[in-house]
């Protein structure tokens, strides 16, 4: 039976037009190529017409689509150009003909994937242009507007279908304006009666642009769950231990998942403020799993003893389980010894 399978397999491949093997693709990409298309199109007075004419030329699909891809690479580095939008729209609909079998497909008939993903790349270039355009508009708003929040909100609302690109453009602009302008924006935030949900992402970006504990706390309180958690997360990537532990141990009222926030202290096993806070959280059954997770990194035997004490005093099975799991994850022999001692307590799943 296996022989029949093999024969069928051999017959099957190579029957699809424009289908290239990985070896063929690698060979092709190894060759130095000239790309006259970009020059032809971009210096043309009628870029789309030039492209359409060029597409009819007698070249193999692989060569042709490589040049299209390189054209798109060039467009990606250019500022938005309305004259080239029809060309971009045309390429967004392009159906790649040079294809390979998807790595996990069992057979070419299961649909093949483009070697050069022209259509999605064209959509990507459009996103880049949207980003650049949004960046430019945001810079105008930040430097000239008396109502920057309203204007930024309108900018986002006017580009709902390009929201991510617009957000990135705004973020880029925030990175490039003066500290004075940023402070003006923060003041506008503080003074807003109720922050529009449309602006939550931008406010989160602003809060993680530079360490500003007061603004971070305000932003955490006034944005949604996702944004509040992002501020905590990104702060812990970008800012100092002192800043982050101060931020997390503030118990700010927010929509963030408190367990998630608590668990972020795992990266500061030697920080006293963090450890004190975590031990306090450990007695709360709602927080115990996250606190125990963070404490599993702690290397101080005194802390393990305190955890054992909480284990003995707590009536909560969840708290006990969390402490046991935490000690289990701690490789130290002394922690393991404490764990063994606790395991004799009644009523837990071993």
């Amino acid at each position: 039976m296996k022989k029949i399978f093999l024969t069928l397999s051999l017959l099957s491949f190579s029957a699809v037009s424009g289908l290239y093997s990985e070896d063929e693709i690698t060979d092709f990409l190894s060759q130095k190529s000239n790309s006259p298309l970009s020059t032809e199109v971009l210096t043309s007075n009628a870029p789309l017409k030039t492209l359409t004419f060029w597409l009819k030329s007698q070249q193999d699909e692989l060569t042709k689509e490589q040049q299209l891809f390189e054209l798109l690479n060039v467009l990606a580095t250019m500022p938005p150009d309305p004259m080239l939008m029809p060309l971009l729209d045309h390429l967004k609909q392009y159906k790649s003909q040079a294809v390979k079998i998807h790595a996990e497909a069992h057979h070419p008939s299961q649909a093949t994937e483009a070697i050069f993903h022209i259509a999605s790349k064209a959509a990507g270039v459009e996103n880049i242009w949207h980003m650049k355009s949004a960046q430019q508009q945001t810079q105008q708003i930040l430097t000239h507007s008396h109502q920057p929040l309203t204007d930024l909100e309108n900018l986002l609302k006017n580009h709902v279908n390009q929201r991510n690109a617009t957000l990135l453009g705004i973020k880029n602009a925030l990175l490039h304006v003066s500290e004075y302008d940023l402070n003006q924006l923060k003041q506008a935030c503080y003074q807003s009666a109720k922050l529009s949900i449309t602006l939550h992402d931008t406010v989160a970006d602003l809060a993680i642009m530079m360490p500003d504990l007061a603004f971070a706390q305000w932003a955490i309180s006034n944005t949604g769950k996702s944004q509040a958690e992002r501020i905590y997360k990104q702060s812990s990537h970008s800012f100092s231990e002192t800043y982050v532990t101060a931020l997390i141990t503030q118990d700010i009222k927010s929509k963030a998942n408190p367990s998630f926030v608590t668990s972020l202290l795992a990266q500061y096993p030697d920080n006293q403020l963090a450890t004190h806070y975590l031990l306090k959280q450990l007695v709360n059954p709602r927080q115990s799993a996250a606190a125990a997770f963070a404490l599993s990194r702690n290397e101080d035997p005194m802390v393990w003893q305190q955890m054992a004490q909480i284990h003995q005093q707590s009536q909560s099975a969840k708290v006990k389980r969390s402490i046991q799991l935490s000690l289990k994850q701690n490789p130290s022999p002394e922690a393991q010894h404490i764990l063994k001692r606790l395991a004799h307590d009644k009523g837990e799943k071993s």
């Binding site: 007075n45 990606a76 649909a111 997360k233």
Partner: protein
């Protein structure tokens, strides 16, 4: 284009071309526009077990798995092997301890593999998301609880642990060149054979084995084709290894099958990213292929209705082709639906299967600069992805748990609140059921009835408005189609006010194990219905549109690539099910006045075919009952159970019944040590009353009780119980209320009931004074070693005292010799005189003393008081 613009273009061109790279060098993924610019923040794993809008570290994910395992008795963790670098590979079994469903049949197995390709971070998150979803909803009395209790799910969140850790070690960096694309670091696909963990070691960055090319039966099968799909070259991205299953990660995956019953594996999924498709495997078994396609269509249609409306397109392979992937192994070895799930985003396919989306990161507004950016799902999307896929897999596994089967059909007389007909399928062995039928009361033309049909799975979900609902996107028959036939004639009637039951309003209007596993409708047989047997035709569909089994006598299971024993409307083996035509009911002539079935008075009952075990049953105020069931355990020791609850009509449902442990005979008894646990359920269906002419004592009527005990594993034991003894003062039936009772006093029959010592809660005594003046004792307790024991004497002598009565039980017996359940044999039972006991009872207190022949028990006594005071007793104690 003007001159200025042209100059700008030329500058851009020169700059752009200068960036073309030929050599492999470490390159970074960035948020901003660059060679590997994404257009969104580059995800960095966060060391947390908590799900959030982003990706967790391996350590965080593993901690979450362990947390779930510690919290959930239905989840266990297992090391199934080690990686190349000797790290443990974990699998998790989501199921109860046994391998049978609540209905007593073999559970189907579901297997899922995640994280086989290191860079596909979506997959460990998705597998973990499924665990989290099922765990969070484990008490939902719906799909998730159903899966935990009726299937075996085994998931491997991260198969390629070493590789996954390597990608998380370098979340923004990898080697890159135009020819090879991105490799190693964040874009590592393969395992870590012959690779160190230092990204800057360039010599090994292309090495490793592709674990999805390392499997039979198509390992190296395309080697000599024009387009080989795997390679013997160690630097190839699809290097297949030295032989099939050469890698420890591959062997570990095979080991995972041992965590479930491999003969009942029903589905396999290897979770990958990206392209938003199902790469399903067709084999040479057409039925298997059809069923797989149907299942994946349901998956897709449901998923498409969830937030984001993502469309997963099924792209099946022709039979007989393969590349050495894991799904081929499971498809061909086990003949089960098996596929590679490619999580979103979409890809740029030809033909385009996702015309609604641009593909790659552009699906999320990204730049699509490099085709590999599809492997990097934005942080902002992963929460939706894992939550939606969890729902879709729950639905899919629910389907593969098996097509629905009718478990019970009952007919109810709303006026009397009595069940008049009971038909239920009892499991006989792994493959067969038998139909238990009990014609209890009268089914007559021109009278209102209700029919209740129960299935072996939840048939609907509860929507946000509390209504029974289907899964969005999946069409089904809203309500069962019920037809009544007499020979070739279909009766002209309708079933009205049909509803799926997702709340328990009463014993009748309640679901069984799961919400919406029960359907109730009203009907009335036409006045001119012939008095002939009626054949019920019933057809219903489950949440995936699967029809019920046409004949539940044979248990549906999955073998040889399809459902087996799944009969259609003609009773023939099929893959589509059909009308169940196995239920028949007689029709009786209409009469206006009759005695309807109801729960009888207090008494002792037993099954003459199972003499040696029985029950003391007491009816109490407010339609409550108390019962004690004396029987044996599996080992031949004595055992007893107790239960209380409310009865309705002619039904007593003790759900659950309790057993206790931790007690001891005599002074060693400590009520603090006594613990109760549930041990299945007991249901008693009382017959229509049978008149006693002449009456016996106060008894003017008698009953039989159809009793069903359902063990926790779904096994059922039935008995037909009759009165063992008649207690004086009870049994008036319809005459109750028309006979003037004697004034309250200290009549011996007024002491009938249960008694206990408050200091010894956990043991007790049931005492009855019979119509012939004798007293019966059932004593429920323990032996000195703590084993359950019961003692009996049915020949107690009653003496009236100034304050009440004294009862002497001179020969208290204990019995031995048989076991519980189907192996029970009354002929094996023998009894021994254990000793004697004396009870002195007043209306509100009393005492008991005992003297055992066995020195281990010795002698002693306790103060006692009434535990119960049964109603419908003509004699009241005062």
């Amino acid at each position: 284009m003007n001159k200025k613009s042209k100059n700008l273009v030329l500058t851009v061109l020169v700059t752009a071309m200068a960036g073309v790279s030929q050599a492999q060098q470490i390159t970074h993924w960035t948020e901003h526009n660059s060679t590997l610019g994404l257009g969104f923040p580059v995800p960095i794993p966060v060391d947390t077990p908590e799900p959030f809008d982003g990706f967790r570290s391996y350590n965080g994910l593993h901690s979450k798995h362990m947390e779930i395992t510690a919290e959930n008795d239905h989840v266990t963790s297992h090391v199934i092997g080690q990686t190349i670098n000797n790290r443990d590979i974990w699998a998790y079994r989501l199921s109860d301890a046994d391998r049978v469903t609540k209905y007593g049949v073999q559970e189907g197995g579901m297997l899922m593999n995640g994280g086989i390709h290191a860079r596909e971070w979506q997959t460990p998150e998705t597998v973990t998301g499924i665990m989290e979803h099922i765990h969070a909803n484990r008490h939902d009395q719906s799909l998730n609880q159903f899966l935990l209790e009726n299937t075996e799910i085994v998931v491997i969140p991260v198969n390629n642990v070493d590789g996954f850790l390597q990608t998380q070690r370098y979340p923004t960096s990898n080697y890159y060149s135009n020819q090879q694309g991105p490799r190693d670091g964040r874009m590592r696909r393969k395992n870590m054979r012959n690779v160190d963990e230092v990204l800057t070691t360039q010599s090994d960055h292309l090495l490793g084995i592709d674990l999805n090319r390392n499997n039979d039966p198509y390992w190296a099968a395309t080697e000599n084709s024009g387009n080989p799909r795997s390679s013997g070259d160690p630097s190839s991205i699809v290097h297949r290894g030295s032989n099939a299953f050469s890698e420890p990660e591959s062997v570990a995956r095979l080991n995972a099958v041992n965590l479930l019953d491999e003969d009942h594996l029903r589905i396999y999924t290897d979770v990958h990213s990206f392209s938003q498709v199902h790469y399903s495997v067709y084999t040479f078994n057409q039925n298997r292929n059809n069923l797989q396609t149907r299942l994946l269509t349901d998956f897709t249609n449901y998923h498409k209705q969830l937030s984001g409306n993502k469309n997963y397109v099924d792209l099946p392979s022709p039979a007989g082709y393969g590349i050495g992937s894991t799904d081929e192994y499971f498809a061909y070895t086990y003949q089960v639906p098996s596929w590679t799930l490619e999580i979103e985003p979409t890809n740029t396919f030809n033909p385009d299967v996702h015309p609604e989306l641009p593909g790659h990161s552009a699906d999320y507004g990204g730049f699509a600069n490099d085709g590999h950016d599809g492997f990097i799902l934005p942080d902002s999307e992963i929460k939706r992805v894992r939550e939606n896929l969890a729902k879709a897999f729950v639905a899919t596994w629910y389907g593969q748990a098996g097509p629905p089967s009718i478990t019970q059909v009952r007919i109810y007389d709303p006026e009397s609140k009595a069940i008049i007909f009971d038909a239920e399928w009892d499991i006989v062995d792994n493959d067969n059921r038998e139909l238990f039928v009990n014609h209890i009361g009268r089914l007559m033309p021109d009278r209102d009835y209700q029919v209740r049909i129960r299935f072996d799975k939840p048939m609907r979900i509860k929507d946000n408005q509390g209504q029974a609902s289907n899964l969005p996107g999946i069409s089904l028959i809203p309500e069962p189609i019920i037809q009544l036939w007499q020979g070739d004639n279909e009766l002209d009637l309708s079933f009205n006010n049909g509803k799926w039951i997702n709340e328990s309003q009463s014993d009748w209007e309640s679901f069984h194990f799961y919400k919406n596993d029960t359907f109730i409708a009203e009907f009335r047989l036409p006045e001119n219905t012939p008095l002939e047997e009626i054949n019920w035709y019933i057809l219903a569909t489950d949440l995936l549109g699967q029809s019920n089994d046409g004949n539940p006598a044979t248990v549906v299971t999955w073998q040889n690539g399809q459902w087996q024993n799944y009969e259609n409307s003609l009773g023939q083996a099929a893959i589509n099910g059909g009308f169940d035509k196995t239920i028949f009911t007689p029709v009786q002539a209409h009469v206006d006045h009759f005695s309807w079935p109801r729960v009888s008075d207090t008494g002792l009952f037993y099954d003459p075919s199972y003499s040696g075990e029985g029950i003391s049953f007491e009816t109490l105020e407010n339609n409550r009952f108390w019962l004690s069931w004396f029987t044996f355990d599996d080992q031949g020791g004595q055992d007893w159970y107790v239960a209380d609850g409310q009865f309705e009509g002619n039904v007593v449902k003790a759900n659950p019944i309790y057993t206790n442990e931790g007690g001891a005979f005599g002074d060693a008894f400590d009520p603090e040590n006594v613990t109760f646990r549930t041990e299945g359920e007991l249901e008693m269906l009382f017959s229509e009353p049978m008149p006693l002419d002449p009456p016996i004592g106060t008894h003017h009527e008698s009953y039989t009780i159809a009793t069903k005990y359902t063990a926790p594993n779904g096994q059922k034991f039935r008995r037909s119980w009759s009165p063992l003894a008649l207690a004086e003062g009870f049994g008036l039936g319809g005459l109750w209320g028309s006979i003037t009772p004697p004034p309250p006093g200290k009549y011996p029959p007024s002491f009938t009931g249960s008694w206990y010592s408050p200091e010894r809660s956990g043991e007790g005594y049931h005492i009855e004074i019979l119509v012939d003046g004798r007293a019966v004792l059932q004593w429920y307790g323990f032996d000195p070693e703590g084993n359950k024991r019961w003692f009996i004497d049915d020949n107690g002598t009653v003496t009236e005292t100034d304050t009440g009565i004294k009862i002497n039980f001179d020969q208290v017996y204990s019995t031995f010799g048989t076991v519980f359940g189907s192996e029970f044999n009354a002929n094996d039972i023998y009894s021994e005189v254990w000793g004697s006991a004396e009870f002195i009872l007043n209306c509100y207190d009393g005492s008991m003393t005992y003297q055992s022949n066995d020195a281990a028990f010795g002698s002693g006594g306790y103060d006692i008081e009434p535990l119960t005071r049964p109603i419908w007793n003509l004699y009241r104690c005062q």
